[in-house]
Subunit: 388 residues, 2 copies
DNA sequence: CGGAGTCGCGCTAACGTTTGCACCGAACGT
DNA sequence: ACGTTCGGTGCAAACGTTAGCGCGACTCCG
C-alpha cells in the first residue's frame, strides 16, 4: 500500500503499457488473467438488461490490480469509441472579471463531480471571437457548452443550437435557450425600491452594454418599479456603459454633463458603480450623503470600499453550479427549463450615508450582513419557477 | 437545404460521417477520390526527409474539399494514434484572484496560438487538492502542465517531475524547476528603497503565505535593502498573511497590536494592502500622510482607490504568456531556463500623500493636474507584445 | 436424466487517425 | 533500349477502448 502510488508500485516495468509507460486495460487484463473486454466491463460497472457482469471474485481481483498499477483509462480511446468526451466548453466575456470568474468556479466545481472537465475561453464580448472560440472548442469534441457571454438577440446561439450542440446559458439569457440567471428584473426593482424608500426621486441608471440581458433586465426592473411609484427616469439619465470601472466612469461623466444632477444612481454592475463613485467624488459630491449609489452583484470589494457600496447581491457561484447541473441534465436528454435565482439587497453606506468604516465593519452598524469580503457564501437562493 | 448551416455547405448528408454527422477524413478522401492516408498527409502538411507529399493539384483539391465540408480532425483519434493531445493543464490557487486570472489569460492566449487548449483547476493552495487535481488533469493525458500554486519546498513537484511529466511554474518558483516569475527580490527592494527614500524608518511587512516564493522573496528583498541602508525590520513587524483583503486586515491588526506603530507598511500583495489600509483608516491613521503603504502587483483596482495605492507592478499577463512559451519549448525537448521578469515601482498617494482623486485623475475634476511626481499612467497596463 | 435457462467470460469488430512500407509509372542517365 | 531513381499514392497495421454476440459450463426442474 505504501507504494501504491502513481504509475503503479510495479516500478514502471509492467507488461503492455502505452507508449508513455502507463498501464492500459491490456496491462490490467493480462495481470488478472482475463480478457480486456472483461476488465472493461468490470471497471465500467456495466449493468442493466442483457448485460452480465463478472463474478464477484474476478471483479474484485481486476479492480484491485487496476488500483495497484494505477490504471486510468485513456480518454482518447474512450472518446473515440464512444464518441463522448466528458468535456464541456465554457465561454465567458473575460475571466479577469471576478463575476465571471466566480461563476466559472462554480461550473468547474460542479462539472468535476460528474467526471467532466472544462475548457474556458475569453471572448471579450466580441462576436468574431465568440464564433472563433466556439469553433475551437467544438473542434475538441466537447459534449456540450455553457455560454456566459450571450447576446440578447441570440442569432449566433440559434445557429449553434441548429447544429445540434447541447448548451445552456449562464448569467445572461437569450431567446428561449435554457439559462440560469439571476432574477435581474427583480434585482432592479430591489434597487429602485430601496432608493425610492430613502426619498430619492431624481434617479439615473448606468445601464451596461445594450446587448446583455443583465443590464437590460436590471434597468427594466428598476424603471418599472419607479414607474409604479410615479417616478419617471428620463432617457437622458439612462446611459449605456461597459461593465468595468472605466465604463462606469464614462457613463457618470456623461450623466453629469447633462447638467441635470441626479440624487441617486443605479449602476447595473459593481465595478461600474465604483467608477461612478470616483467621478462623483471628484465632482465634489459626497457619496452616501449628497448622492446615493447602488451597484449590482456584491463582489467582495463592495464591502471593503471606504464608502461601502449598497448593492444587489446575485448568487454568482451558485449560478455556475446550477448551470453545470442543467447542462448535465440536458446531456442526459432531459427536457430542461431555465432557472432564475433570486437576488437580495445589501444596504451599505453609499445609500445610507453612514460611515461604517473602510474595513467593512464586520458585524457592526446597519451595513453589517454585508459579509466578509473574500468569502461570500452564496446563500441558497430559492429557485423560482420561470414562466418562460 | 435552407438550413445549410455550418456543418459544411454540402447540406449535411455527406458520405462516411462520424456518428454525430461530422465529416471524417474518409469523407474528404472519398470526395476527392483519394485514399485517406493521402488526405491525411496533405492536411497535415507532412514534409521532411524521406516523406513525399502529394502533387500540387491533388493537394489543392483535398484542401478545398476539406474546407468546404468543414472537416476538423477528431482529436481523440489523433490523440490515440500519436499519443499527444495538444492539451495542457493549469493549476492555480484561485481563479477569482485577479492576479492569477490575468496570468491564466496570458497562458490561454499563448497556448492557443500553438493549437493547444488548456484545462484550469483551482487548488486553493491545498496540498490535497493539488494532488487530486493534478491526477485528474493527468488522467486527461495532457502533454504538459503549468503550476501557478507551487509550494516553495516543492516535494510534490519533484514527484511529478520524477514521473516524467513536463511542466513549468509560473508566478512562484520552487527548487530548480523551470519557472517564469517576477523578480520578486528586486520588487521588494524597490518598495524598500522607495520608503527609505521618503524617510521612513519604522517599517513593517505583511509577508503573505510562508510557503509561497512570492511573499518570501519580496520580503527578503525588502529586508535586504533595509539592512543595507542600516535600517532594521524587527521580526515582530514581519507577519505572514493570506493573499486577500481579509489576510491583510488580520495581519495589520496583529502589527498594530504590537503597540509599536510603524510609519510605513509593505504588503506583498495589493489586496492584502487594501485590507491593511482599511484597518489603518479605522485606527484613525491617514494613509499617505500618517503612514505609508506599498502593495505588490498593481492590479487595476490599485489606481482606482480613493487613496491610490503605491505598488510594485509585476507583468502578470506576460508571465502567463512566457510560461506558455517556455512549456512549449520544453515539449519540443529543448533544455529551458527559468525567466525572471522585472517589476517596476508605481508611486501613488498611499506613500506620497497627494490626493490624486478617486478616479485616478483622468483629466476630469478638481483633483486633475495633481499627478504624482513621475506619475505612471494608471490603467492600461501595457500589454506585452505576444508573438503570434 | 436431459433440455432450458443462466452465468461468466472470450472474440471480434469497430471508432478515426497516422505512418512505415510497397507499388507503379515516368523521367533519367549511360 | 534498359536498369535506376524518384515522385505520387495506396495498403494495412496499429493506437486503447467498448459492445454485440456467442459459447461453454453449471444449475435447475420436470
Amino acid at each position: 500500500m505504501a507504494g501504491s502510488v502513481h504509475r503503479g508500485a510495479g516500478g514502471g516495468d509492467l507488461p503492455f503499457t502505452d507508449p508513455a509507460g502507463r498501464p492500459t486495460l491490456r496491462t490490467v487484463a493480462e495481470l488478472a488473467g482475463v480478457h480486456v473486454s472483461t476488465a472493461s466491463r468490470v471497471l465500467n460497472q456495466v449493468s442493466g438488461p442483457g448485460v452480465r457482469s463478472a463474478s464477484r471474485t474476478t471483479s474484485e481481483r481486476i479492480r484491485r490490480i487496476a488500483q495497484r498499477v494505477g490504471y486510468s483509462p485513456n480518454p482518447h480511446a474512450t472518446g473515440l469509441r464512444t464518441s463522448r468526451s466528458n468535456l464541456v466548453g465554457v465561454l465567458v466575456p473575460r475571466l479577469v472579471d471576478i463575476v465571471l470568474a466566480t461563476i466559472y468556479e462554480g461550473i468547474e466545481e460542479a462539472t468535476a463531480t460528474y467526471g467532466f472537465s472544462t475548457f474556458v475561453a475569453n471572448t471579450g464580448d466580441d462576436p468574431v471571437a465568440q464564433r472563433q472560440r466556439t469553433e475551437m472548442v467544438l473542434a475538441r469534441r466537447v459534449d456540450g457548452m455553457i455560454f456566459g457571454d450571450a447576446y440578447i438577440d441570440g442569432g449566433f446561439l440559434d445557429e449553434i443550437a441548429g447544429r445540434g450542440v447541447p448548451f445552456v446559458l449562464v448569467s445572461r439569457r437569450a431567446g428561449a435557450h435554457p439559462s440560469v440567471t439571476c432574477d435581474d428584473v427583480l434585482g432592479g426593482r430591489l434597487a429602485a425600491e430601496h432608493l425610492l424608500g430613502l426619498g430619492h426621486r431624481r434617479l439615473a441608471v448606468i445601464a451596461g452594454e445594450p446587448y446583455a440581458s443583465t443590464g437590460i433586465d436590471r434597468t427594466a426592473g428598476f424603471r418599472a418599479a419607479c414607474a409604479e411609484a410615479g417616478v419617471e427616469v428620463p432617457e437622458a439619465r439612462v446611459v449605456h456603459s461597459g461593465f468595468d470601472t472605466e465604463g462606469g466612469r464614462a457613463a457618470m461623466v456623461e450623466i453629469l454633463a447633462g447638467g441635470d444632477v441626479p440624487d441617486a444612481v443605479f449602476a447595473v454592475n459593481d465595478f461600474a458603480a465604483v467608477g461612478a463613485m470616483g467621478v462623483l467624488r471628484d465632482a465634489g459630491l459626497a457619496v452616501g450623503r449628497d448622492i446615493g449609489v447602488v451597484g449590482f452583484n456584491d463582489v467582495p470589494l463592495a464591502g471593503s470600499l471606504p464608502v461601502g457600496l449598497t448593492t444587489v447581491r446575485s448568487p454568482m457561484h451558485e449560478m455556475g453550479v446550477r448551470a453545470a447541473h442543467l447542462l448535465m441534465r440536458r446531456l442526459r436528454g432531459e427536457q430542461v427549463e431555465s432557472e432564475r435565482l433570486v437576488p437580495s439587497l445589501v444596504p451599505r453606506a453609499s445609500t445610507l450615508g453612514v460611515e461604517v468604516g473602510w474595513s467593512g465593519a464586520r458585524g457592526v452598524g446597519p451595513g453589517s450582513g454585508a459579509g466578509a469580503p473574500g468569502s461570500t457564501p452564496d446563500r441558497p437562493a430559492p429557485r423560482t419557477p420561470t414562466p418562460r
